[in-house]
């Protein structure tokens, strides 16, 4: 039986958003805690490993899951079996108390943009307890053909290099591509055409509408030496400045990281394939080999909850082991 672990009541900004409590809740990331925002109060529930799932989510709420960096085709020592860990991630999703309405994959679906690698991911996702999967590409998905195969498979209703938007339960979702036309020495890049589209896409939305942006490379500067940032993201964030609730979901760095800046919550997800070192703690951001029994504790999925009328979405990370 899931019992409330904590109830936090801090409303410093007098806007019904319990940011301090939110951040404290996030400190439990990886332990399998569910944080639910209800009437401005953040409550966390421990997700048991067994079948103790009895959290009642009222109707009208939206739950979805973010997965990232499956790197299908990777087979080096950091993880010789990315198929098994990707399946474990789907099993974890299928064991959630509430089935997600959809899954967001924030890219590096494949390791080398090969047909068989994309096939494997699609095959395994068929066993996911959800009705839809939305994708944005990572730089590995653009290897060899600038994303042509990726767009054919996952980007049928997208524009340009693969950007698009859609609505779910009153939340506006925007998928951006920041891995195309990368310049020597640069970071991730959105490009003028996509930024122009983004400006138009949000122009007539009410500022009270929650917005979720998902893209592969972080849209904030995490660690530029390792390419962990996007050169022209400031312009994109400028178009979203007036919105009361903006959630930015990214991947690429293979570890969870958060930042809250005004009304914008930035969050990166774990990989389902292999971990990468924390910024500056290794000579490079390559795959990080850890003892086998530790691997799954450093891989994971991210659950996101939204309740109609509330500001911030509640984001929870769950590790695979």
């Amino acid at each position: 039986m899931a019992a409330p672990r904590d109830e936090i009541l801090f409303d410093h900004n007098h806007d019904g958003i319990d940011r301090r409590g939110f951040l404290r809740c996030m400190a439990w990331a990886g332990t399998g805690a569910v944080c639910i925002l209800n009437g401005g109060v953040l409550t966390s529930y421990a997700l048991g490993r067994g079948g103790e799932h009895s959290i009642k989510i009222p109707k009208g709420e939206l739950t979805f899951v973010q997965i990232s960096d499956s790197h299908m085709g990777f087979d080096k020592p950091a993880n010789p079996d990315v198929i098994a860990t990707f399946q474990a991630a789907i099993d974890k999703i299928n064991a959630l108390p509430v089935a997600p309405e959809f899954i967001l994959h924030t890219g590096d679906v494949s390791h080398l943009a090969k047909a068989a690698q994309f096939d494997n991911v699609e095959q395994i996702l068929k066993s996911a307890r959800t009705s839809q999967v939305f994708y944005v590409p990572g730089e590995h998905d653009f290897v060899g053909d600038d994303g042509q195969q990726f767009r054919q498979r996952f980007g049928k209703d997208t524009q340009g290099t693969g950007w698009y938007s859609f609505e779910k339960k009153g939340v506006h979702f925007i998928g951006l591509v920041n891995v195309a036309n990368l310049k020597a020495g640069g970071l991730g890049s959105l490009g003028a055409e996509q930024l122009e589209w983004l400006e138009k896409d949000v122009k007539h939305l009410k500022s009270s509408k929650p917005v979720v942006v998902f893209a592969h490379i972080p849209l904030w500067t995490v660690y530029p030496d390792w390419g962990w940032g996007t050169d022209d993201s400031a312009q994109a964030l400028g178009y979203l400045k007036r919105f009361g609730s903006v959630t930015v979901l990214n991947g690429h760095i293979h570890q969870t990281m958060q930042k809250v800046e005004g009304n914008v919550t930035f969050h990166t997800a774990c990989s389902t394939a292999f971990p990468q070192p924390k910024p500056g703690t290794a000579p490079s951001p390559g795959p990080m080999k850890v003892p086998t029994e530790q691997l799954r504790t450093l891989l994971g999925v991210t659950e996101v909850y939204y309740k109609n009328g509330q500001h911030a979405l509640a984001i929870t990370d769950s590790s695979l082991g």
Binding site: K76, L112, K183, A184, P224, D225, G227, P283, S284, P287
Partner: protein
């Protein structure tokens, strides 16, 4: 007389071989060559040496030692462009014309280096 010619031919050959060996040694010393050809190593998301200076007509081979794939792409994305190199895979390019050739990894664009052809 035949013997003297033989000896002088042999001596000339020896001198020529020595001379070629010295030239070979000199170019190896200035360009970081190993016995099988000029190489640039890709390690920890960087190219080594970061600047390679070579005479025109030299062939250069890149080899990836990382556990993640990289590419070798000239900055203009046209002069040379490798496919994705997985661990231990190689790419070679012969630099015929003098000039400076900056290049990068198109998957990890922060990785930059250059070849200077004299």
């Amino acid at each position: 007389m035949q013997r003297n010619t033989c000896v002088s031919i042999l001596r000339a050959a020896a001198l020529a071989t020595l001379a070629m060996a010295l030239i070979g040694f000199a170019s190896r010393a200035s360009a970081g060559q190993n016995p099988t050809g000029l190489q640039i190593a890709i390690d920890n998301f960087s190219f080594a040496p970061a600047t390679l200076t070579i005479p025109a007509g030299t062939s250069v081979t890149w080899v990836n030692h990382d556990d993640i794939p990289h590419t070798v792409v000239s900055e203009d994305k046209a002069t040379f462009k490798s496919s994705a190199l997985d661990t231990d895979e190689k790419f070679s390019f012969t630099f015929a014309k003098p000039g400076t050739y900056p290049y990068f990894c198109s998957i990890h664009p922060k990785m930059t280096a250059k070849v200077v052809v004299q």
